[in-house]
């Protein structure tokens, strides 16, 4: 009863508020309020005349969020968030990335509580959205205006019914990272532009690395076949499973043909991505390039090669920039603290300070037009990256990036393509690998054609 009263009061206030300020977007009022504050003072204040009615900064409660991110970065980000939302406590519960989907699925099946804020990695977001557990953020009271988002990011947070089920904290125009000392020895340059011009096609890579040696020791272009997969597959906006039909021959085969060619030319090392020795390989000088999304720099390379300061750079991959990974925040449909949860999400996605913070600590580029259009917003010269302004690099080369549409079966894809890549490593042809993947997919999901 009490809840009902509160709810109707809130709704009433909200309607009045909307009429009063003529602004239907709560996030915007919060964001503009604090961004104007931020420009004058380093501490953001939250008072805004426009925000009185739908002021989510007044929201209170404890927001539970499951995540696999770096806890130290999150702690900093949450402390910063609390300067604007003092009454919202964010409880970040670490869950191993390997267990994340399992934990969500079990909770859904057993009808136990989900976190108020769900982190959706792009690899399983399609599956997550299909489960009907995420709040449509475009609805009142959140009124998240999707036109604020970069058009490219839209397919990543909307479902087929046009609901906005998440707010993206990351957009990942990705390139390739390289070790400067190695390119200097091999090609007498460590300039990202020169390297990008030198490697316009995959054949250029093969030609340059076929017999590449440093001090008499063979060096490789890439560490894993999976690098090539993420790059080339990243160019392709099509989901490999469409309307219940497996489209691997159309979507994957051309990618796998390139991978096969590269593998057989012997320019790819034999690591498996995410294995301990792969992590270790970033501290060595055996492999020049690595597929590198913005998050990848802070999440993998910098911690893996702690002594590599100044020895790394980022450039454009042969064939251009691609999309790799990405996180969005969603609100659990049955959360009891939706307002507070939205406060957190809005702050992370729409507030200038929140977005800036997320960029400086984790190199996350939040795909909101307001910030993306602001020159130099996502810009930061990095000593670790040899003084290169990597953020700006990603921004400058964003135009060619295409984004895959989400699909219900996305959760099955990773395990599947990794098996296909192993086939290539065993010497099979691209067609054989793809056939193998089709068979494997049908085995796992019998209803697919």
């Amino acid at each position: 009863m009490f809840k009902k009263v509160i709810a109707s009061v809130l709704t009433g206030v909200m309607v009045l508020g909307m009429a009063a300020c003529g602004n239907t977007d709560a996030g915007d009022s919060t964001a503009s309020a604090s961004s104007s504050a931020a420009s004058t003072s380093s501490v953001a204040t939250t008072s805004s005349p426009a925000a009185t009615s739908t002021d989510f900064t007044k929201a209170s409660g404890t927001v539970v969020m499951w995540n696999w991110e770096n806890q130290d970065q999150l702690k900093t980000a949450i402390a910063d968030f609390n300067t604007r939302y003092p009454n919202v406590k964010v409880e970040s519960v670490p869950v191993a990335s390997a267990d994340y989907v399992k934990k969500i699925q079990t909770a859904v099946a057993a009808k136990t509580a989900l976190p108020d804020v769900i982190r959706g990695e792009v690899g399983f977001r399609g599956t997550l959205f299909d489960m009907d557990i995420c709040q449509d953020l475009s609805q009142a009271p959140f009124n998240f205006d999707k036109s604020k988002l970069a058009d490219k990011a839209l397919p990543l947070v909307t479902d087929s019914k046009g609901q906005v089920l998440g707010a993206p904290t990351q957009f990942n125009p990705s390139g390739i990272a390289y070790r400067r000392s190695m390119t200097k020895k091999l090609f007498n340059t460590d300039d990202p532009k020169v390297l990008a011009d030198k490697f316009k096609t995959w054949d250029d890579v093969i030609a340059a690395f076929k017999d590449a040696k440093i001090d008499g020791k063979k060096v490789y272009a890439f560490r894993t076949v999976r690098d090539i997969f993420h790059i080339v597959d990243g160019y392709n906006p099509q989901n490999p499973i469409q309307d219940g039909t497996i489209k691997f021959n159309e979507v994957y085969l051309p990618t796998f043909q390139i991978i096969e060619k590269m593998w057989k030319a012997g320019v790819i090392n034999k690591y498996d991505m995410w294995a301990p020795n792969w992590t270790a390989s970033f501290a060595k000088s055996e492999d020049v390039f690595s597929a590198a999304a913005p998050w990848f720099l802070k999440y993998v390379i910098e911690p893996a090669d702690t002594k590599g300061k100044g020895d790394w750079g980022v450039t454009v991959a042969p064939g251009g920039m691609f999309n790799w990974g990405g996180t969005a925040l969603s609100i659990w449909k049955d959360s009891k603290v939706k307002d507070a949860a939205w406060g957190y999400i809005a702050d992370q996605v729409l507030n200038e300070n929140g977005v800036k913070n997320s960029f400086t600590t984790g190199m996350n580029i939040t795909p909101v037009k307001e910030f993306m259009d602001k020159p130099g917003f996502f810009s930061q010269k990095e000593e670790y990256w040899g003084g290169q302004d990597v953020g700006q690099f990603y921004m400058d080369n964003m135009d060619s990036v295409k984004v895959k549409s989400l699909g219900k079966y996305d959760n099955f894809l990773e395990a599947n393509f990794v098996k296909g890549l192993q086939e290539i490593k065993k010497g099979k042809t691209a067609q054989e690998a793809v056939d193998f993947m089709i068979a494997d997919m049908k085995k796992n999901v019998p209803e697919l054609k």
Partner: protein, 275 residues
């Protein structure tokens, strides 16, 4: 005679030493690895301790909050152990020393339960825990675990041989209650079986991973194994800290083993699996 004895014992010692080294070796290297930073771990094989242990430990306890996980795991394991031993000892005793109608059925039910894969009813189990409000509660890890078919079988086998029926009969003569007979007369006889079961139960509870993973979502209630799994998120590439945490997480097992290992051997020796 004396000579060949010496040679023989020399061979014995060499063989046992080799086996011990193989058994301890990986764990030893793990301890050594916990004393280096990550870069050093990957660059060379280390056989002697480095000097990064305190830094790794600091990471584990201060940043990852392992102190709390430790406390949770210890009290969950202790309570589970006590409850398991109590519940299963009573059941094992009933099966060993009484004759009653459903005895055969009950015994076979226990044997069959031993053969069931432990993950069999997981989803239904979690749903059930949710219905009775035990998700995110340590009760869900403690109470259901107490019905341990293996423990019943183990204690029953021991009781059959280890407890003279005359003792029970004389207890009845003296007018003891049935409960009194069990706790005062029978328990002292089956202590080794209870001790060995305590060791196994403690270990099982401490190692349990899948159940806490799907049942516990409040970080304050995390157990050590859950904490260990999330180090992947905390320290993506900090293998030094991750391994230090693993070492720390294993130490209680050694302590428990040293306490109960005598019981374990006695428990086996005195008849539980003998013919």
């Amino acid at each position: 005679m004396e000579q060949s004895n010496k040679v023989y014992s020399f061979i014995l010692y060499i063989f046992l030493a080799v086996c011990s080294i193989i058994a301890i070796g990986p764990f030893y290297l793990m301890v050594i690895m916990s004393t280096y930073d990550t870069n050093a771990l990957f660059t060379d094989l280390h056989l002697l301790p480095g000097n990064n242990f305190m830094i790794n430990i600091k990471d584990v306890f201060l940043n990852a909050g392992f102190g709390k996980f430790y406390f949770n795991s210890i009290y969950i394991a202790v309570l589970t152990t006590v409850l398991t031993v109590l519940v299963c000892a009573m059941c094992g005793y009933a099966l060993a020393k009484f004759n009653f109608k459903l005895k055969k059925t009950a015994y076979y039910a226990i044997l069959i339960t031993m053969m069931l894969p432990t993950q069999l009813g997981l989803i239904a189990f979690v749903t059930e825990m949710n219905t009775i409000g035990w998700t995110d509660s340590h009760l869900s890890l403690i109470v259901p675990a107490a019905a341990n078919a293996f423990a019943v079988y183990w204690i029953r086998q021991y009781t059959v041989q280890g407890v003279p029926t005359e003792i029970i009969e004389s207890g009845r003569m003296d007018g003891c209650t049935e409960g009194g007979i069990f706790f005062k007369l029978v328990v002292p006889f089956i202590k080794p079986a209870l001790g060995s079961q305590a060791l196994l139960s403690f270990m099982a509870s401490w190692n349990s991973y899948l159940l806490p993973l799907v049942l516990i979502s409040d970080q304050k209630k995390y157990t050590v194994t859950l904490g260990l799994s999330t180090l992947d998120a905390l320290y993506r590439a900090n293998y030094g800290a991750r391994i230090a945490a693993l070492v720390i997480g294993t130490i209680p097992m050694f302590i428990i083993f040293l306490i109960f290992s005598k019981s374990l051997i006695q428990g086996i020796t005195a008849g539980s699996v003998k013919g």
